[in-house]
C-alpha cells in the first residue's frame, strides 16, 4: 500500500459505520424519518427538546439507539480483539474466543440458567456469571501456557487455550445433561443476540470496550514488530511476553464483557480483520483502527438483518454473521488473490 492510500480507508470506514448506524435506527416496524432521528439524537445528547412525539422518541431513545450502540460496541470489540489475537499469536485462525473465553462464558451462563432458574436471559446474574467464566478461563489458559515456559512461544498458549476450552465445555455439557430443560435457553444465548433493556447493556460494555480499544490501538506498532517472530522482535529490543500479556488481557476483558451481554457471536473476529488485511495490507497501524470501525458497522448491519428477515421473529445474530459473512468473505478472498 502506498503511503497516501491509507488516508482514504479511514474516512471510508467511518462512512460505512455511519450508514450502518443510521440504517439501524431507521429500520423497524414504526417509521421514523431520517432527519428527525438525527435531530432527536442530537437533542438528547445536548439536553434539548426532541422533535419526535413521545412514543416515537421512546422507540428511538429507549429501543433502537441503545441496540445500535450496543451492536457497534460489541462488533468493534470482537473485530479488534480478533485482529489482536491474530497478531500476538501470529495465527490467522485466532479469534477472540481462542483462549477459552467462549467456553468459560458458556459454562458461566449455563450454571446460572440451570441453578438460578427465573433469573434467566434478562436478569443481572447471567452477564456477570458469563463475564467471570470467560475471564477465569483465559487466566487459567494463560497460566497453563506460561508454565510451559516462554521458549514454547505462542503455540503453548494456543494449546493451553484448547485444553481449558475442552475441559470447560465438558463441564458445561455435564451441567446441561443434568438440567435438560435449560438447554433451549442456554442455546439461544450461545447463538448470540443484541436484545437490550434500555441503556443497561451499553453501560456494562462501554467502559471495557473503550479501555480495551485504547490499549490495543496503543500497541499497534508493537504488533507489527511481533509479526517478525518472538526472537527477531526481542533482537529489536521488544519485551515480547509483556506486549503479548497486555494485548491479550485488554482483548480478553473486552471480549468477556461483549460476550456477557450479547452471547457468542461467531465469525466477526475472523472475517472483519481478514477482509481488511486483504484490502489494505497487514500492518496493524491501519488494521486495528479499521477493525474497530468496520467491525462496529458490520455487526450493526447484521443486527438489522437479524431482526427484519423473519420479523416479528428474530434470527440469532450469530447465524446472520456467519450466513452472510462467509459468502462475502469468499468473494473478497477470490478477487484479491487474483490481483495479489
Amino acid at each position: 500500500m502506498r503511503r497516501g492510500e491509507g488516508r482514504i480507508w479511514l474516512p471510508l470506514a467511518f462512512v460505512f459505520l455511519a450508514a450502518a448506524m443510521l440504517t439501524g435506527v431507521l429500520v423497524g416496524p414504526v417509521h421514523l424519518g431520517a432527519v428527525s432521528v438525527v435531530h432527536a439524537t442530537f437533542a438528547h445528547v445536548f439536553g434539548l427538546h426532541s422533535p419526535l412525539s413521545g412514543a416515537d422518541d421512546a422507540i428511538l431513545w429507549e429501543l433502537r439507539l441503545p441496540r445500535v450502540i450496543l451492536g457497534a460496541l460489541v462488533g468493534g470489540t470482537l473485530a479488534a480483539a480478533g485482529a489482536s489475537y491474530q497478531g500476538v499469536f501470529r495465527n490467522p485462525l485466532a479469534d477472540p474466543y481462542l483462549l477459552g473465553a467462549a467456553a468459560g462464558a458458556g459454562l458461566g451462563a449455563t450454571v446460572v440458567v440451570a441453578y438460578a432458574p427465573g433469573s434467566g436471559l434478562t436478569g443481572d446474574l447471567l452477564p456477570v456469571s458469563a463475564f467471570i467464566g470467560a475471564a477465569v478461563a483465559v487466566v487459567l489458559a494463560y497460566a497453563l501456557g506460561r508454565s510451559a515456559g516462554a521458549a514454547a512461544g505462542p503455540a503453548a498458549l494456543v494449546l493451553a487455550g484448547v485444553t481449558i476450552a475442552s475441559f470447560l465445555t465438558a463441564l458445561e455439557t455435564f451441567v446441561q445433561q443434568q438440567h435438560v430443560d435449560t438447554v433451549q435457553e442456554v442455546y439461544s444465548w450461545l447463538l448470540g443476540r443484541l436484545a437490550t433493556t434500555g441503556w443497561r447493556e451499553v453501560g456494562i460494555v462501554l467502559p471495557y470496550a473503550v479501555v480495551a480499544w485504547v490499549i490495543i490501538l496503543m500497541h499497534r506498532r508493537l504488533l507489527d514488530v511481533l509479526a517478525v517472530g518472538d526472537e527477531e522482535a526481542a533482537s529489536l529490543g521488544v519485551n515480547v511476553a509483556r506486549v503479548r500479556l497486555f494485548v491479550v488481557v485488554a482483548a480478553t476483558i473486552a471480549t468477556a464483557a461483549a460476550v456477557a451481554v450479547a452471547g457468542l457471536i461467531a465469525f466477526v473476529g475472523i472475517i472483519v480483520p481478514h477482509t481488511i488485511r486483504l484490502l489494505v495490507g497487514g500492518s496493524y497501524r491501519l488494521l486495528l483502527p479499521l477493525s474497530v470501525i468496520v467491525g462496529a458497522g458490520f455487526l450493526v448491519f447484521a443486527d438489522v438483518i437479524a431482526r427484519t428477515v423473519l420479523a416479528p421473529q428474530e434470527l440469532p445474530i450469530g447465524v446472520v454473521t456467519a450466513f452472510f459473512g462467509a459468502p462475502f468473505f469468499a468473494v473478497v478472498l477470490r478477487t484479491t488473490r487474483r490481483t495479489a
Partner: protein
C-alpha cells in the same frame, strides 16, 4: 576500540554444551567470519551476542557489559540478521524496514521524521527504492535478504551480526550482498560478525576467520592460517584442495578422490 569481547562465553541448550568457553575480541571496523561444520555453535555464538540465549562468562559490547545493558539499549548497538528471517508477507518493504527503528522509540512511540529518514536511507543503500511499496511476499529471495539487511541498517547499530547472509542466494547474489555489506562497513563504520558456510567467500571478505568445532574455538586468524587442508579435513571431514588464487585470496575446492 574493541567492538566485541567474549570472555569464556558458554551456552548450554537442553543440557548440551553448545558453546564452550569461547574467548575472542573483535576490533571496531573489522569483519570476522565464524566458520565450522554444522552444529559447531556459530549461530549460538551470534544469538548470545544479541542477548537471545542465556550464557555463562562475560560478554562486552563496545566496552560495556552486555549482560548489564537493557534489551533496548543493546538493540541500539547490535543488529542481528537471522539466517531465515520470519517474513510477514502482507506488509510493505518500507513498513518492514521501519520496524528496525523500534529500539529508538518509546513503548508507545511512533516514528518521527528522523526515523523515516533512517529507513529511507537504508532502503536507498540497498537499492530497494523501486520495491519500497511492494509487499514482502512479492519479492524474490535476494530482494527479501536485502530488505532484512535494510531493516538491520535502519536499526543504526554499530555491530552487525549476519547469520549465513548468503545461504539461499545464487552465486551472483551472494557476491552482491557481501559487496554491499563490505561497502556499508566502510561508509557507516560498521563492525561485522557473520557466520558463513562458503569458506572461499569467508576468506575473501572477512578480515579474520574463527573456526569452531563442537562449540570450541579450534583455529583463528587470517585466511591463509585457517583455510588449510589439514584443518578443513579434520573439522569438516571433507576432502578439499586449497588453491591460491592470486589477487583474490584462497579458493577452497571440494575434491572427489578416486576409489
Amino acid at each position: 576500540m574493541t567492538a566485541l569481547a567474549l570472555d569464556r562465553v558458554s551456552v548450554s541448550l537442553g543440557g548440551a554444551v553448545v558453546l564452550d568457553a569461547l574467548s575472542y575480541e573483535v576490533e571496531a571496523g573489522e569483519w570476522v567470519a565464524l566458520i565450522g561444520p554444522n552444529g559447531a555453535g556459530k549461530t549460538t555464538a551470534l544469538r548470545a551476542v544479541a542477548g537471545l540465549v542465556p550464557y555463562g562468562g562475560r560478554l562486552r559490547v563496545f566496552e560495556h557489559d552486555a549482560g548489564a545493558i537493557a534489551r533496548k539499549a543493546l538493540a541500539r548497538q547490535v543488529a542481528l540478521v537471522p539466517q531465515v528471517p520470519l517474513i510477514p508477507g502482507d506488509i510493505t518493504v518500507r513498513e518492514y524496514v521501519l520496524l528496525g527503528r523500534t529500539p529508538h522509540l518509546g513503548y508507545f512511540g511512533t516514528e518521527g521524521r528522523a526515523d523515516q529518514r533512517a529507513a529511507d536511507a537504508a532502503i536507498e543503500q540497498l537499492d530497494l527504492v523501486p520495491f519500497s511499496h511492494r509487499r514482502l511476499d512479492t519479492l524474490s529471495g535476494g530482494e527479501r535478504q536485502r530488505a532484512t539487511l535494510a531493516r538491520a541498517l535502519a536499526q543504526d547499530a554499530s555491530l552487525l551480526l549476519l547469520d549465513e547472509p548468503t545461504a539461499a542466494l545464487d552465486m551472483g547474489r551472494q557476491q552482491q550482498v557481501l559487496e554491499i555489506v563490505d561497502r556499508l562497513r566502510g561508509s557507516r563504520g560498521l563492525t561485522v560478525v557473520s557466520t558463513m558456510h562458503d569458506l572461499t567467500l569467508a576468506g575473501q571478505y572477512a578480515d579474520r576467520l574463527l573456526l569452531l568445532d563442537g562449540g570450541r574455538l579450534v583455529a583463528a586468524g587470517v585466511a591463509d592460517e585457517v583455510l588449510t587442508r589439514p584443518l578443513i579435513t579434520e573439522h569438516y571431514g571433507a576432502e578439499v584442495e586449497v588453491v591460491d588464487a592470486p589477487g583474490s585470496g584462497f579458493v577452497v575446492v571440494p575434491v572427489r578422490r578416486p576409489r
